[in-house]
């Protein structure tokens, strides 16, 4: 049996080169995703969670991104060493991705069935009729009713939740080993979110694939992820199994995020917000990036960025003060 993780990211550093400044979106990020694992990446806007995902597939949609250093080992092979042709064989076949807004990621002028079949013809060299039959099957599998007629429909004829199901069908078409889902339910209503998350879990069980799930919602993490990394300002603040992270957070930022979720208390007690706002990543701070907003910060916190260290089995925290939160 292969005991190596499916994906191993090591010291990934991705910088967006803007005119006159560089934004350090991902700074020395390392984590592993096991086979069949749902791995969550959480954090607020601009924390680098999407940039991390896009670095894996090198899909930057024209943004001036540069991967400065690191390795992305997928089945032991460093994706960063692949040229663009080899990389496009990986995309959609071995690793696929779904996004927050399914409307902008579907082609509005193409029938749904064609969009699903396209990847099958490109990667698996299926014939036209074969790929169309497979597309119809996939559509049924992701819970679209009457797939035999709906394959001929266009994206605008689908609701938001159904479009996300179509995106999932496209992503699954070539049976990838890793599905990257970047905020897949953020644009959906809570009842539809519930349906889509459960669909993703069912697919994980049936296909045995791994999922990298990006979200800002700790509720989604609690319900779906096996392990999770909390990102803040381009770095991983804490990495742990889901239960440890949510029950015993050891990084002040993870704890603060949990405290700022409303609706936990019976009475409308005052929420504990995190003061201030995240730092500007074009002028990185010295030391821990959370220290200006941290209620536990000491003088040492301004010196060097803390390393991500094991604090308990299965839980690593980048905070020199993790002891006081135990």
């Amino acid at each position: 049996m292969d005991n190596h993780p499916l994906l191993s990211i090591r010291h990934l550093t991705t910088v967006f080169e803007m005119p006159g400044r560089s934004v350090h979106a991902v700074d020395d990020v390392s984590f592993d995703i096991g086979r069949g694992e749902v791995f969550g990446l959480v954090g607020e806007s601009g924390c680098g969670k999407s940039a991390t995902c896009r670095s894996i597939l090198r899909l930057f949609a024209g943004a001036p991104a540069r991967i400065r250093q690191g390795a992305i080992l997928f089945n032991g092979r460093d994706l960063l060493q692949l040229d663009e042709t080899k990389m496009s064989d990986v995309r959609g076949a071995e690793i696929s991705m779904i996004f927050q807004d399914p409307m902008t990621s579907l082609n509005p002028t193409m029938r749904i069935g064609e969009q699903i079949a396209e990847g099958l013809r490109r990667h698996q060299r299926l014939s036209g009729p074969q790929s169309r039959r497979a597309a119809q099957e996939l559509l049924g599998e992701v819970g679209v009713s009457r797939p035999e007629t709906r394959v001929a429909d266009y994206p605008h004829q689908f609701s938001g939740g159904m479009r996300q199901r179509v995106m999932i069908a496209i992503a699954l078409a070539c049976r990838p080993q890793l599905l990257i889902a970047d905020e897949p339910t953020t644009a959906l209503d809570v009842t539809i979110q519930d349906q889509i998350l459960k669909l993703l879990l069912r697919i994980r069980d049936e296909y045995g694939m791994s999922i990298l799930l990006v979200t800002h919602d700790l509720g989604v993490v609690a319900q779906t992820c096996d392990r999770v990394a909390v990102m803040y300002a381009g770095r991983i603040a804490e990495l742990a199994d889901t239960r440890s992270l949510l029950k015993f957070p050891r990084h002040p930022y993870s704890r603060a995020l949990l405290n700022s979720i409303p609706g936990q208390e019976e009475a409308s007690a005052e929420l504990v917000p995190i003061p201030g706002s995240p730092p500007d990543l074009s002028a990185p701070l010295a030391g821990c990036r959370f220290h200006p907003r941290c209620s536990h910060a000491l003088a040492e916190c301004t010196a060097a960025p803390p390393d991500l260290l094991m604090v308990r089995p299965g839980q690593a925290t980048a905070c020199i003060r993790h002891g006081i939160l135990s």
Partner: protein, 341 residues
């Protein structure tokens, strides 16, 4: 005699003509109507917050816009202290009583106007302050109330973060000293840590300025936190109206129950693999006969497909539109949220 409520929404309906294709127009087909809001009645007391929840397309924003005067309801009336709110003789007064705050603070501020200009415009349009000195003083005070430094007033919106922009939108709404604020998804574009700051601001302002809010949001946790009462809408109708804590503790309508169990709980020990509500919202152009919810309802009976239920007060202050009100919890001996995996 009891005093008239601050805001009394009486059987308000709002329909939009559906778009027709050219063939339908030429063929003289009667235009279909989209009934976005169907006979909604709701009262708001001074200092009270009523949360309005439901899935996209349930009519919650349309109702908010009717109250703010952005839409003229097809039927029904909206009374302010017993007087019609948007009657022609009240046209100048209405906006001073009801103000609206929108979801996207990036889109609702003029990018070419400084914060001071945005706020002073409101003050001068409504003749609330005259003379440069008075206006500056009011602008300073407004910014201080919403937790921003008056020093920032010469800046343009782009130099502010999302949370700060929402504070500016709130300051602009407060400039006319309204009594009622319609807040349409005011925190859903913000990150959680910033969201908490803005929610606390809403609560503080309510206490300090004695404001009434109609708080429209799809995030039930947020609504639970800020609201005294909650109204749940489905296909344009209120299906449940109850004091907030009671509604969350013991939902009376199966739709409310489904909405609540669909919220992902931030507790890994309470995982559920059961889907809380199957299917999607039916086409609002032709809502199902009988109870609009019966097509997705786990406890629907034959009667539900024929007879539309009325919104009835099943217990004090607990209004439910369902033939089987309060039966859902008994039906779900184990509510889906507590099944351990």
């Amino acid at each position: 005699m009891t005093e008239a409520p601050l805001l009394d929404i009486r059987s308000v309906s709002m329909s939009f003509p559906a778009r027709r294709g050219l063939a339908a127009v030429l063929g003289g087909t009667k235009p279909r109507e989209l009934k976005a809001v169907r006979e909604v009645s709701l009262q708001l007391q001074s200092g009270e917050t009523v949360g309005l929840v439901g899935e996209s397309g349930c009519g919650k924003s349309t109702l908010g816009r009717c109250i703010a005067g952005l839409y003229k309801p097809t039927s029904g009336e909206i009374l302010y202290r017993g007087e019609p709110l948007h009657a022609s003789e009240n046209r100048a007064e209405a906006p001073r009583r009801v103000q609206m705050i929108f979801q996207d603070p990036y889109a609702s501020l003029n990018p070419r106007m400084t914060i001071a200009q945005t706020l002073s415009e409101v003050l001068s349009v409504h003749s609330l302050a005259k003379g440069r000195h008075n206006i500056t003083e009011r602008v300073d005070r407004l910014l201080t109330i919403v937790g921003l430094s008056p020093k920032l007033q010469a800046q343009l919106p782009h130099s502010f973060s999302g949370g700060q922009r929402q504070r500016i939108s709130i300051a602009r709404a407060l400039a006319v000293e309204p009594e009622i604020i319609i807040a349409d998804e005011p925190v859903s574009a913000l990150d959680v840590s910033i969201q908490a700051q803005i929610i606390n601001l809403f609560i503080r302002l309510r206490e300090e300025l004695h404001l009434a809010y109609l708080f429209i949001a799809h995030d039930l946790n947020v609504v639970r936190h800020v609201s005294h009462r909650v109204a749940v809408m489905y296909l344009g109708q209120i299906v449940e109206l109850a004091p907030s804590q009671e509604l969350f503790r013991n939902p009376g309508h199966p739709y409310t129950n489904a909405l609540l169990s669909a919220i992902p709980k931030p507790d890994p020990d309470q995982r559920s693999r059961a889907i809380s509500l199957e299917g999607e919202l039916p086409d609002p152009h032709s809502p199902p006969p009988g109870c609009s919810f019966h097509t997705r309802c786990p406890i629907a009976i034959a009667r539900c497909t024929i007879e539309a239920p009325k919104l009835l007060e099943h217990a004090p202050s607990r209004w439910v539109r369902c033939h089987r009100a309060f039966e859902i919890r008994a039906h779900n001996l184990k509510p889906p949220s507590t099944i351990h995996t």
